[in-house]
Chain length 420, copies 2
Amino acid sequence: MSHTAEIIAVGTELLLGNIVNTNAKDISQALAGLGISVFWHTVVGDNPQRLKDALDIARKRADIIITTGGLGPTYDDLTKQTICETFGRPLVLHSDILDTIRGYFERNVHMNMPENNVQQAEFPEDCVIFDNPVGTAPGCAFEADGVHVLMLPGPPFEMLTMLENHAVPYLRNLSSDVIVSHDIMTFGLGESPMEELLREKMSHMDNPSLATYAKPSEVRLRATAKAATAAEAEAMLAPVVEEVTAFLGDVVYGIDVPGLENACMKLLKEREWTFATAESCTGGRVAERITALPGASAVYRGGVVSYWTSVKAGVLGVPEDILDAYGAVSEETARAMAEGARRVTGADIAVSVTGAAGPDPDERGVPVGIVYIGLATPEGTFCRPLDLGKRRRDRIQDLASNHAFDVLRRYLTGLPVEHP
Amino acid sequence: MSHTAEIIAVGTELLLGNIVNTNAKDISQALAGLGISVFWHTVVGDNPQRLKDALDIARKRADIIITTGGLGPTYDDLTKQTICETFGRPLVLHSDILDTIRGYFERNVHMNMPENNVQQAEFPEDCVIFDNPVGTAPGCAFEADGVHVLMLPGPPFEMLTMLENHAVPYLRNLSSDVIVSHDIMTFGLGESPMEELLREKMSHMDNPSLATYAKPSEVRLRATAKAATAAEAEAMLAPVVEEVTAFLGDVVYGIDVPGLENACMKLLKEREWTFATAESCTGGRVAERITALPGASAVYRGGVVSYWTSVKAGVLGVPEDILDAYGAVSEETARAMAEGARRVTGADIAVSVTGAAGPDPDERGVPVGIVYIGLATPEGTFCRPLDLGKRRRDRIQDLASNHAFDVLRRYLTGLPVEHP
């Protein structure tokens, strides 16, 4: 049976334009992966009458309704109450969940639970409860007259955790087809050239299908197959992934790898190597990305954010004559920064970034977007010079940190690093 | 007269979760500034029947309908046609606009206009046309039976340009009220306790109103007033902002300041001081946040990401006997890290972070969530010990970086730093 879903976000802050509705996007992606068609997104404020109106419209045109938000402890969190009124279900207090919420407060917040959190332990009669390990608001799901209603929390990271752990498994049980996807991760080719390259292939493909998704400065190619079993879907996907990967060559940095830093961590672990960073214009983004990964200490020793020239000289030991002759944003300085980071940390390999991220040119007049990536290795030192153009500061910083990981990845896989 | 608006986004790519609906957020913000209440956001696919259904619902509950998307030249761009059918208006070809679109192609795309672009020159009879200097799809607006319908393009940059140049002036003519908001930014008090504290005040306030918005580990209090003029709204807000700020005391770190790092940058600039960082468990997040701000080099010299103990010793000069006796995650090490960062960079003040971000306890068994923030100053060294609880790794890293800025902010404003 084919399902039709509507996503209803509840929150006045969305209607005031304070935040963007990323939850609708994330849920839609997950449902697309399950073969469930989403035909409507709706946003209403923290207003019970308008939420009731939205539910009355939704139950006529969808058989899966997913709400986000309004599960919190405050007086304007009314999603559960309003849904129960609309669908004629009583709310029931779950004392075991109340204990869990009290425990969360004592353990994580070191205070007694405020009394208004009690409403977070009340649920519709006869529902499946979705626990929330990263917040206080559990979610839930029930079926009424052939309509499945799922309630998820509003804060995106709580919603995502519950979506993955509870809502997706719940919905997968409703559907007979299995959808499997694999992501071919690439860096170094834009979305348009990628689509040009693959147009012939993509236009002839329906199942499996191939679609491009652009992240800033990366393109993810998603191959998706629908079949009766996961094994069947995998068998349909394998030749497509293999053919496209071979066709694209070394711009592919991994299959189902979340980011370039994950690819680098894997390569470093395989060699049992450690690395270090020296960052100027990226200001710690390369370090932050690698240390966001659990277990980073196996491969990452540390680094220096040498924002001032005096720190490049004093902490990294970049020779003053290089800084004087070529300036802070130069190939020579990038090389000396990487060598310095490798030396002071004792790492096997070190990557450096120096450049002009803007909005103004650097003090010597180097234009915005000029960036040098250095790489110090046991075999010698390399450099990738870049002109990233007059982009926004945060885009240049993101893109430069991606190039730093790409230089590392290419070296560790035996490819030339000087060009992306 | 008070208006009620609904925003309808048209585009299957939104329902597939390929893109996020930033247009709804941007239009909502603009309308809030005009005193127009947005009660609904709706998203439908490129499907004429479902768009017609959405329009039929919207015209019953809103007197301003703003659509985005579906104004392009392809066969599935059906917004104008569907709106004209729903509201019973004929479409009329505007030959002058057809010429403009032909010219755009010749000038910017260097090709002849494809014939399917002709539909972009057709408009509802008796409408106001919104020209599009940054794309080929003009927008338009008309009134029918007391409902104003505005059609804007889907690509965000084109939408924003047209919103500002045409839609906002069109809507301003419909409304007499102005809405002004100010954000009271706080750190150190959760959303629930904040609401408990302010419940009495908040429940008695309608205009100006007061609402809380939680960011991870911060709470923003927004005070909003509606009046005939901006000056009148400001006069209504001033006593509220003053009273609430005084009531909350030193958890308030600024009014209309985007984040703690911005507050620190301002305080450092006032003193003409520079600062430095030494980070272990935050892995560069403090450095990354300050260097995300344009002009950071005026106050930030640089820092060390001392992820390994050997880097704490070798680069920051943390004495080996301190590391041996107390371990990497300890008050003593936090103090020595801050002192080391201050010494090696020559900054006036330095902040350090060391802790166990998880998922596993540190090598000496320090539990996840234990974090120490050090601060080295010309007056001596301070430390804030924290137990952030068994949160997710990225939440601990975010929260710890917020505490680092809070310690810096409190010191620079003459407050004790040991407790948040």
